[in-house]
Amino acid sequence: MNHINIASLEVGQVIGNTEFLLTRDSLVRYAGASGDFNQIHYRDDVAAAVGLPGVLAHGMLTMGAAVQVAVDWVGNSGAIVDYQVRFTKPVIVDPVNGAVLVVTGKVGEIDAENKIVRIDLEAVFEDTKVLGKAQARVQL
């Protein structure tokens, strides 16, 4: 079903690293696709009124983009059997330049018997990790 040989994997091994550019367009697109029309994700005045430093990316957009590193590695989004994150820091999206999210995936744990590999994802925006305990379990 996929090309990965579980015996060749090592804990700590980097499986991928991707830069995602999140622009205001990305936020509008995600709002429409997901149905989450919370205005803090596209209106500067509303974000400011509730005390935010700017318009924020949907946490679920960050979560959805980050897992693509694991999906691209295994080649099939259906192999992601369990995926969790904690939202620890906001991603502030500049109206002109957007926000660059850098995601790195590493092998966190190998369950050879059940052929499940835990990929730990690190998502960084402006030198700060924005997700905690971001773990995707991949069925090989």
Binding site: S26, G32, M60, M63, D72, S77, D82, K133
Partner: protein, 147 residues
Amino acid sequence: MVNPNVQGKKYPATDPYLVGREKIREFAHAVKSTNAMNLDVFAAQAAGYTDVIAPPTFAVVIQERSLATVLADPEAEIDFSRVVHGDQRFIHARPIVAGDELVSELEVASVKSLGAHSMVTFETKIYDVSKELVCTVISTLVVRGDE
């Protein structure tokens, strides 16, 4: 503050949601997926699926329908303008496939206080028309209290 008495409360199943192929593609583009399983029917079928499959976080769209019921429930006393997303988890029994008709059933798994804030955890189970479990979605929302 969230009413602690709603801990354990179950909300009735939502009306069935029909998962469309173009909806999956739209969602896949939105989360920056380039995976052929989400976009290309032939590639998905070659891998053994009946149609394109949804990205791992798509179940949030189904869960959202149950969540809206809770946020509108006066008994729960959740002030949406004070809500911050704490954590999120998707446990898949199988991927969501275009053509699926899905319902979601939500239970308030726990309500905890953290100083002036409340933390409420929801467990939503998503089933297909044959009542088979497709995905369990666990979300924690933090509701900010008065400082």
